[in-house]
Amino acid sequence: MEMFLGYVKAFAIGGLVCMIAQILINKTKMTSARILVMFLLLGVFLEVIDVFKYIENFAGAGITIPITGFGSTIVKGAKEGAKIGFFEAITYGFRNMAGGLTAAVFFGFFFALIFKSHSKKA
């Protein structure tokens, strides 16, 4: 039951985050790059002011699966690295990006090789 409730919360908060993005798209005609950067920075901000963990405890994947989660892991890495030394402070954030970036770039390359473009724009 508790697990089920976790999914309901993830759905609600995740949906809410996406709905806010949609409102911005409708009202300002922002492109997806701007939206993604904005929400990444929102995640960074929420982590820096130490609020992210409370939202994460409540919503789980509802806040970590949107790109806000990516921003938060970056700051988490920086925070962790800063305890060790200066070099770690400035590099551990990127280290936490490594998994996602590797996956995105590798699968991007791989699938672009395999599949032909579906868009009829060209």
């Binding site: 949906g15 970590t64 990516f70 579906h118």
Partner: protein, 148 residues
């Protein structure tokens, strides 16, 4: 004149309802994608009990990125995106889509300057923003740490 006013009224209402429809779509699709992520999180926690939390989280992101890339490859994600808007852009699968979609689109312009370069049309700003905030927050935490 009245016709024109009526048309304006209809048009304004149609836009309003379109706006609401896109919000509902974004909410539902975004919520479902997050639930799928939650599902992978629970699955990996169960399957890999020795892994620390941050590694599980990274693995979930990578799995979602794989799914996003694959669905973009077979052309499903962009169709979904046309309806879902923000619901398909903001989740990490949307990040994957923003990498794969231009990579596929520009593949015909060559592997190096087409695919590999254009892959970062949308992802580039994200990587730059992420790296800058990583270094900035790292320096801040380091300096704060010196005084503690």
């Amino acid at each position: 004149m009245e016709d024109k006013q009526y048309m304006e009224y209809v048009h304004a209402n149609a836009q309003k309802s379109n706006h609401l429809v896109t919000l509902v779509w974004a909410f539902i699709v975004g919520g479902i994608i997050c639930c799928i992520g939650q599902g992978f999180g629970d699955l990996f926690k169960f399957a890999l009990p020795n892994w620390e939390k941050s590694k599980i989280a990274a693995l979930v992101s990578m799995t979602m990125i794989f799914l996003g890339s694959f669905l973009t490859g077979i052309g499903v994600y962009d169709k979904l995106g046309a309806k879902a808007g923000g619901g398909s852009i903001v989740p990490i699968t949307g990040f994957a889509n923003s990498v794969v979609s231009p990579a596929m689109e520009f593949n015909k312009e060559g592997i190096v300057l087409g695919m590999m370069a254009k892959m970062f049309v949308v992802a580039g700003p994200i990587i730059v923003a992420g790296t800058v905030s990583s270094v900035a927050s790292g320096i801040i935490y380091y300096i704060v740490g010196l005084f503690q």
